[in-house]
Symmetry: C2
Subunit: 114 residues, 2 copies
DNA sequence: CTGTTATATGCCTTGACAGGTATATGCTGC
DNA sequence: GCAGCATATACCTGTCAAGGCATATAACAG
């Protein structure tokens, strides 16, 4: 598993990363919040740790995991050239997202275009 | 293959997307430039097309592929919360370094957001 | 020391996906 | 129509990673 993209391809890993945005969490908390078996959590955390997405510190019997920045920046760098390209096509994106996630309300001030 | 992240997890697909940043390309050109067997190119293009990363138009016997914007911005949206997180770290680091080495000029790519 | 909680690891099975090769489809010009 | 080029698809196979379950390690409480 070499690239950061393979790491974030896994939905459960993205869920874990999402949890850690707010604050550091113990394995048990992640297990509880994501309703995910403990070995699964540990294994994904291992992958994330070895890829540099997270780091852990010991707190008694617990281990607290928190995010690290670098791999995210790697994604950011890859994305950069495409950003220049897509910024002219914003309207199409909104239609696209509306199709993919019909429930998600776009919280934009509805300036009634179209 | 449901999420955009699984799509871009494949190195050859990222290579194809990279090629298309500059301009649209035919299958044969991609095949030539990436030194990749033609069926492989076609298969990856199919995946990319079905995921909305590219679209094609017919030009005689050739098909010209070009990028589409939406899926990239989906990645962008996922990345956004983490960007907030890491940029504060970077800023903190810069302040730290500024105190330590007041003479050092920060030659950073101008981070155009926030 | 013993039991209990928290986390990590090992083993096995299963499924998905990428590559290779062959072949099919489609368009063009004669 | 046929020949030739460009692209797509079908089929097969190997690989690899994720999940389930059992078990190992580690730190704490008593």
């Amino acid at each position: 598993m070499d690239s950061v993209f393979e790491i974030i391809a896994e939905p459960n890993r993205r869920a874990i990363l999402g949890l850690l945005v707010s604050s550091e969490q113990s394995v048990g908390e992640i297990e509880r919040r994501l309703r995910m078996p403990q070995p699964t959590v540990s294994k994904h955390l291992r992958v994330l740790r070895e890829a540099g997405f997270v780091e852990s510190t010991v707190d008694a019997q617990r281990r607290l995991y928190r995010l690290k920045a670098e791999p995210f920046q790697e994604v950011e760098e890859w994305l950069a050239p495409f950003r220049r390209f897509w910024s002219t096509h914003v309207d199409a994106l909104e239609r696209h997202l509306a199709r993919m996630h019909p429930s998600t309300s776009t919280k934009r001030k509805t300036r009634s275009r179209r």
